[in-house]
């Protein structure tokens, strides 16, 4: 993550410092198995001033939020680097997103396992709130693109919930990956294929529309 940022924006020392703090935090967590006791102790070890930390993050929690959002951002950056990606249909774009995300997460797996083990509720609570915002902005764009290409059907009321449903799907994939013990996390790959297939089957034209049509008919005629 850090190296990627450096490569893309070489003349931005602030982002460098932010990345350094983030990496140091993860390393601390991995070595000690827990958060640093205080920002003071942590910045002291980094030989920097406490206020440097607050320049970027309000607390360790804020830092963790930014780490998770960083996973999504790195994934999106990687995708936009790929020339092929733009030419994909929307469904393949979402698949690519997940496979890339799985790669991004792999390099930080220990940290993720450790931090989610400590706080079982982590995946539900607000640690992921920033990541969710970034992801939902991304899928909203995808959904619009899909509606234009006809891959996704616009349905009153329901369409607005899609970004949330897709976020739940991401949480499903994340939880599956955390528990996955197969070599190379191949089972997660299979889970991704299936989950995306189901979501696009539901969002695309077909059974759901027929069902809504019938329910509407019955509602008006009974």
């Amino acid at each position: 993550m850090a190296t990627k940022t450096k490569k893309n924006k070489p003349e931005n020392p602030e982002r460098d410092l932010q990345a350094t703090i983030t990496d140091a935090y993860i390393e601390f967590y991995l070595n000690k198995g827990k958060k640093p006791a205080s920002v003071y102790e942590f910045t002291g070890k980094l030989k920097m001033e406490e206020k440097d930390f607050y320049q970027f993050f309000g607390s360790f929690e804020g830092l963790e939020k930014s780490i998770w959002a960083g996973f999504i951002n790195t994934t999106l950056e990687t995708l936009s680097d790929s020339e092929e990606y733009e030419s994909y249909p929307v469904k393949q774009k979402l698949l690519s997103f997940y496979y890339t995300l799985a790669e991004v997460l792999k390099s930080k797996r220990s940290f993720i396992l450790l931090s989610t083990e400590k706080e079982a509720e982590l995946l539900k609570n607000h640690t992921l709130s920033k990541a969710r915002d970034v992801f939902q902005a991304f899928v909203s764009q995808l959904l619009q693109e899909g509606t234009e290409s006809g891959e996704i059907v616009k349905r009153p009321y329901i369409t607005d919930r899609y970004p949330e449903v897709l976020w739940l799907q991401l949480l499903f994939v994340l939880r599956f990956w955390i528990k996955d013990e197969s070599a190379g996390f191949e089972k997660t790959d299979a889970a991704i294929e299936k989950a995306v297939k189901v979501s696009f089957d539901l969002m695309g034209p077909g059974a759901v529309d027929s069902l809504i049509d019938m329910v509407r008919f019955l509602y008006h005629n009974r």
Partner: protein, 441 residues
């Protein structure tokens, strides 16, 4: 090719698939008895067809080893009533492709690059589906290549898949569970080997080079590229040629068909007797035919290594005259595990003549020296024999597995070979050029 994403991988999902099949098969039996009570004489064929259709429908939605097991059973037609076999044969052509992003991911984990970075061009959709992988077309330096990509998690699911096939296979084969385990361990071993692309690459190179060096006429292979291959990827030359059905549709002359048939026979003769390991998957999808009478061989996923003692017993039995020498024949039946000391006298009385008949029939091409596989009478006899074995109550009630576990794939190989030669209607020389000659390694 339409992409299908729904491969049930979870064990529960797969199990439920099989469960519905079980219910349907049960229903077919009910229908059968209903028909019987009305007509008095309902053809068992209809029942077999119904069962085969339902089992096939289930299997065709599965990937990996369940499909493989179906294919294997379909090759071993002598063990199955005809209707089952015909349906299973269809499974050889169906398996839905996986999404392109997953293919990209597979490439990234193997080479750290996307397929389009490795090759000059790469087809997004699979051009061909194999049972545990799919084939993409690629270009590199002006050369057309075939790139085989394995589905994720196949190796992991082999064992659980086989457990799921078990109730069906047990019912069809009707043997005791311990005997069944023996056969299944053999199948499992082969299937696991098949998911090992490193091994496949090694064997492909080894066998194709040995055959080319020997100079067997009319056989060609793609060149394999180890540097473009990995755990779940094999890259080889794109082989031009027709599939068997297309080839036959062009109405090739008898001479051409004989030439291809002879090449095929010699290819197996050489592998069996010289290499002592054979391409054990002779179904039509693994061969490409050319109008000039040559044959391309493209898939070494399933290779059976022939153990020395099995080789000796098997081919001593398939020697002319042995079946007319009761003492030697019986001894060889013991060695080939057709009968054992555990059998009662009555069982021996039942099975010795039966196996004499089976070997006499199935070994005909070996004994004859020259054989016309276009002769429909031979295959009618084979079917009639297998149907009568299937319908023989005494045989069915004996739940002992007969025949060494090695014979499973060897018989499948020869039977698949016979079927190919039959479709080709090839009239060829079948006496071995390599049997009894020194092994050269």
């Amino acid at each position: 090719m339409k992409e299908q994403f729904s491969i049930p991988t979870g064990k529960v999902q797969r199990a439920s698939k099989f469960l519905t099949t079980g219910v349907k098969v049960g229903g077919n039996y009910l229908k059968h008895y209903a028909r019987k009570s009305i007509n008095g004489d309902a053809g068992k064929d209809q029942l077999h067809t119904d069962n085969a259709r339902d089992i096939y429908d289930t299997l065709s939605e599965l990937k990996g080893s369940a499909l493989k097991a179906a294919q294997m059973m379909s090759m071993d037609r002598n063990m199955l009533p005809r209707a089952y076999a015909d349906k299973f044969a269809m499974a050889q052509y169906s398996a839905p492709p996986l999404s392109y992003p997953l293919v990209v991911k597979t490439f990234r984990s193997a080479f750290g690059k996307a397929p389009t970075e490795v090759f000059d061009s790469f087809s997004h959709n699979a051009v061909n589906a194999a049972s545990i992988g799919q084939v993409h077309e690629a270009m590199l330096n002006g050369k057309k290549l075939a790139v085989k990509v394995q589905y994720p998690g196949v190796a992991d699911s082999v064992s659980s898949d086989l457990k799921l096939v078990k109730p069906f296979a047990l019912r069809i084969m009707n043997i005791t569970e311990s005997d069944f385990k023996l056969y299944m361990s053999e199948v499992e071993e082969r299937l696991l080997e098949e998911t090992d692309y490193h091994l496949e690459l090694k064997r492909s190179v080894m066998i194709s080079e040995a055959v080319l060096k020997e100079g067997i006429i009319g056989i060609f292979f793609p060149v394999y590229y180890p540097e473009l291959s990995g755990n779940r990827i094999i890259t080889m030359d794109w082989v031009e040629g027709m599939h068997l059905k297309e080839f036959l549709a062009t109405g090739p002359a008898q001479e051409i068909r004989n030439r291809i048939g002879q090449a095929l026979w010699d290819f197996y003769d050489f592998q069996m007797h010289r290499l002592r390991m054979v391409h054990a998957d002779p179904h039509p999808g693994n061969f490409l035919f050319r109008s000039n009478g040559s044959l391309g061989i493209i898939d070494f996923g399933c290779v059976k290594v022939v153990p020395d003692d099995f080789y000796e017993y098997y081919f001593r039995l398939h020697t002319p005259g042995v079946l007319d020498n009761p003492e030697l024949m019986t001894e060889l039946f013991y060695l080939n595990e057709f009968i054992s000391e555990k059998d009662s006298e009555a069982e021996k009385k039942l099975f010795i003549p039966l196996f004499r008949e089976i070997i006499g029939l199935m070994g005909k091409p070996f004994f004859a020296g020259k054989f016309d596989f276009g002769d429909p009478a031979f295959f009618e006899q084979v079917y009639r024999l297998s149907e009568s074995l299937y319908n023989n109550k005494d045989v069915r009630n004996s739940r002992t597995a007969r025949g060494s576990k090695h014979s499973l794939y060897i018989n499948r190989t020869y039977f698949g070979l016979y079927m190919l030669l039959h479709e080709l209607k090839a009239n060829i020389v079948t006496s071995s050029r390599y049997q009894g000659t020194e092994m050269s390694i």
